[in-house]
């Protein structure tokens, strides 16, 4: 069962990723990204990360992709992009070579290091994360998040606030400088 789910989801994830890279229309790329993120959420469920599967759907598919689509519509950049023109000569070939090299190196390291089913690894936690009869996945994450990682958690709160304020300030200031430039007859 896990094998079947993995194969279907891996196909969805890879097809969606290729769709993002190869789509000429940005809206199609965003919709392919949704497919990838949904496949990834099901893979998270397969790996018994139930909370993160839900967060993946809510945050990525529900917020981030909607933000992407909103910006695409707002800017009106949903025109087709000509992919046949190569901006820098030979850059595309080099990029694909670098990508294939990265993949081959990662897989070679993976297979060479013997990480896999035979190695159970060190037991870092006393809890067994696959045993969720007494301790749910959400409760385990919360236990860790609000004890060992509580300062990092507070820092992310500050990060989100700063980034939202920064986004507002950036769009406002640009608008003001536009008007100043237009009145000066520049641009």
């Amino acid at each position: 069962m896990e094998t079947a789910v993995f194969i279907v989801c891996a196909a969805i994830v890879l097809a969606g990723a290729l769709g993002v890279v190869l789509a000429r229309n940005p809206v199609h790329a965003a919709l392919s990204l949704v497919g990838t993120l949904f496949g990834m959420a099901v893979l998270f469920l397969n790996l018994e990360a139930h909370f993160l599967a839900a967060v993946q759907i809510i945050v990525y598919a529900g917020a981030i992709v909607v933000l992407f689509l909103f910006v695409i519509m707002l800017l009106g950049v949903d025109r087709l992009e000509d992919l046949s023109v190569e901006p820098i000569t030979g850059q595309r070939t080099l990029a694909i070579l670098a990508g294939v090299g990265t993949f081959v190196l990662a897989v070679a390291f993976l297979l060479g290091s013997g990480i896999g089913p035979s190695d159970p690894g060190p037991k870092i936690l006393t809890l067994d994360i696959t045993d969720q009869s007494t301790y749910s996945n959400l409760r385990q994450i919360a236990d860790f998040l609000f004890t060992d990682y509580v300062y990092a958690f507070e820092a992310t709160a500050a990060l989100l606030t700063i980034s939202v304020v920064g986004a507002v300030v950036m769009s406002r200031r640009m608008a003001c400088s536009d008007e100043a430039q237009e009145s000066a007859g520049d641009d």
Binding site: P26, L33, A49, V59, L74, T102, F144, Y149
Partner: protein, 100 residues
């Protein structure tokens, strides 16, 4: 039976597709989406190793990656909107001057 290696190979493939897309495409929005693909590949690696090593810390790391990705998208899209107001339909190649 699917082993951890399969998940890690899938993550490597997804990361590769994202990296190639980031290098090849010139539309800033598509480049952001490729960054999201790469972040997702890393998330899958974290969760796979978390289960393999029986450590919930892998899932907590993914939580933080999600938060930072959300912040990155907010700031990045604000920059794209601000740039597009000054220079409509600009691609990444047009923005090499670094003078607004």
């Amino acid at each position: 039976m699917v082993t951890a290696s399969w998940y890690l190979i899938l993550a490597a493939g997804l990361f590769t597709i994202g990296a190639v897309g980031l290098l090849v495409r010139r539309n800033p929005l598509i480049m952001f989406m490729c960054v999201e693909l790469m972040l997702n590949a890393v998330n899958l690696t974290f969760i796979t190793f978390g289960r393999e090593l029986n450590d919930i810390g892998g899932q907590v790391s993914v939580f933080f990656v999600l938060v930072v990705a959300a912040a990155e998208v907010v700031v990045g899209l604000a920059i794209v909107v601000a740039i597009n107001r000054r220079r409509p339909q600009a691609t990444a190649d047009d923005l090499s001057a670094l003078r607004g």
